[in-house]
Amino acid sequence: MSLGDALYEACLVVREGGWLDVSDLRREVKTRHQSMLARLEQARLPGGLGKIGELVEIAFGDWTEAVTMLGVACQEDSPELARWALEKSLSGADTMRRLRQLLEEYSQALCEEADDGDF
């Protein structure tokens, strides 16, 4: 199960009145966030692709908030709060999905140009 899916499932569990230990998820989000930022930094992206980092930050920001809200929902025994966590989790997944989709399109376009002998 991917990170986005795991967050989504966790939100559903809490929304339905279940309980979970969010520390694993919190650690997972933090670790992957840091790892991703480090790898993007290592990649030394050209200036035009610098915005990718910002978008990754937005997605992970939403996921981090989702985990925090989930923690509050469990701590306060308020399954109703899990719906907001769900919103945030979906928001993060949505940002990441669209980022990936657009990068793939861009990459595909460049590949086609290369195949056409443009560069």
């Binding site: 899916d5 279940g18 990718i52 978008l55 701590q75 025994d77 945030k88 980022l99 657009l102 460049l110």
Partner: protein
Amino acid sequence: MEISDLNIGLGTAAQGVDWGWLQSRVRQSRRSLAGDQVQNRLSELLFGAKLNPREKLEYRVKLAEVLDVIEDLDAPVAASRSIPVGRRLTSVGSLNWIPSIGKGEAYTATPEQVFHKRKLLRIHDFLAREGEVCFHRVAVKITCRDQVRKGGFDQVFLSPEGLKEITHPTQPGVVSLRLPQRCLKQVDVRRVARKGKTRAIS
């Protein structure tokens, strides 16, 4: 919808929770904004940049690297240690409905039934839809080490629909109640504090 619309008693929430922060985060849900930002910024990259062949080659390589990084997000996450609602709910003994719903009849339900009924019985919805709410104070008794202890009270709000549903003749009656987690913690604390004593907690 504002978080206050949920009517979950935020004013009486436990200490240590920054409700202002939570509320502000909910208000500025960035779901659509983030989507637009992705679209706009990537569109700038796609259509706005004029790259020479060398730059295009570099972009192609770097994009492949970034896509690899993003794909790693699909690496499996260890399953969370979750406790589904069925196992989390605790049966705490009999309930006394005040005022009585029926004529001296005991009402029973599984904890899940009570939980889902209460989920259905969203106070806000009922106020808006029905304009009327039936309120019941429920006395909770806890059986612990063969002793019956008073576990305090809980409030149950029932709409006429909810009342009808919960007292449906073909449904089993209510015998148990889902206690909020903080009550369970309190019960634990009491048990520790009263360890060795034989008298019930009043």
